[in-house]
Symmetry: C2
Subunit: 223 residues, 2 copies
Amino acid sequence: MRKDKVSEAVIRRLPKYYRYLMELERIGVERISSQELSKKMGIKATQIRQDLNCFGGFGQQGYGYQVKMLKKEIKDIIGLNREYRVILVGAGNIGQALANYIGFEKEGFNIVGIFDVNPKLIGNTIRSKTIMDIDTLHTFAKQNRIDLCIITTPKENAQQIADMVIGVGIKSIWNFAPVDVEARKGVFVENVHLNDSLYTLVYRINEQEGMKKRECLPAKGGE
Amino acid sequence: MRKDKVSEAVIRRLPKYYRYLMELERIGVERISSQELSKKMGIKATQIRQDLNCFGGFGQQGYGYQVKMLKKEIKDIIGLNREYRVILVGAGNIGQALANYIGFEKEGFNIVGIFDVNPKLIGNTIRSKTIMDIDTLHTFAKQNRIDLCIITTPKENAQQIADMVIGVGIKSIWNFAPVDVEARKGVFVENVHLNDSLYTLVYRINEQEGMKKRECLPAKGGE
């Protein structure tokens, strides 16, 4: 009997399971087989069963999965059954959009502090939260428990902000600046690169329009 | 000599190459070996050479890659050397943030139309573009060439909007609604799920805090 640690790939699939199960629950589906779920999600049924077995299985042979129950289990496994205290650094377009998005609050993500360097923004409020001077972040972090920092600064400032928030003891960073932020071991970073998916889309548009005829040659090595 | 079609994985890595090369150019690096690039990007050097060989190579043995030249080549390969006419459907928080983001315009993405169903939003402007009634989208699409549609509606409306814009001949969809939008063959869809990376982060926070002890058991099969 294997006792593997839950792999990166499995962890990355959990939000997708959660998303599909929420949608199934919303449209009134009560139970689903791994085969049906497989067809919907584009993940092999054996993969689904193996993934869910990392956390205890939840399915019954010949019956499938109870949608509501499995959704709740995956919600708990991800850790969406508690509150997270979040700060946001960078109150520009994307920062404001995230701070305004009430969906996060519903899921337990409470934005407890918003910071910026811009004097024109400092003092403004977003959903009754005052935008604070980045210089006050250190003191704020000492006085408040913070679980997560969202970085929505320009790319030039992202690493510096990351270093600063790691310095005050914050262990998780959700970075929207278009640069890969690096952190020491024990700090978790998710770099969101919105443009990457846009560029993939654009590549396909051009590929379809026949502007590119491509073939892969073997690597020579040594470049 | 292989003549493979460029694989999905290679296409998905192109934006990452572009991002790193832009950053290298910004900090003044003129040339880089595949080994150095490998270390920075966390992609094997052989993989980098093989990927770039799909498009002609660009490297010189013992010299490496010219950063500026390679960046330009990859920019052209992705298709960022032309203008794209974009419409945006859903002028809520994320929609407004994307419409306000001038970075897209700099890269050739021109938002030519913004649409919503909300009478309170219709008629407002975002960067001098008037938010139009979704009912006028059909006529607008007939009169204007549109390369790409950004969907930033609630999840309940996303598929319906996708079907509508595909119906008027739009071939590419960049979807931010938290549901996988489906399309017929020949239409390209990129579903952006911001929450997925947030949930992955949250899973790790809880894993570290020792709230979960997990091991993977082999699948039994048949659920």
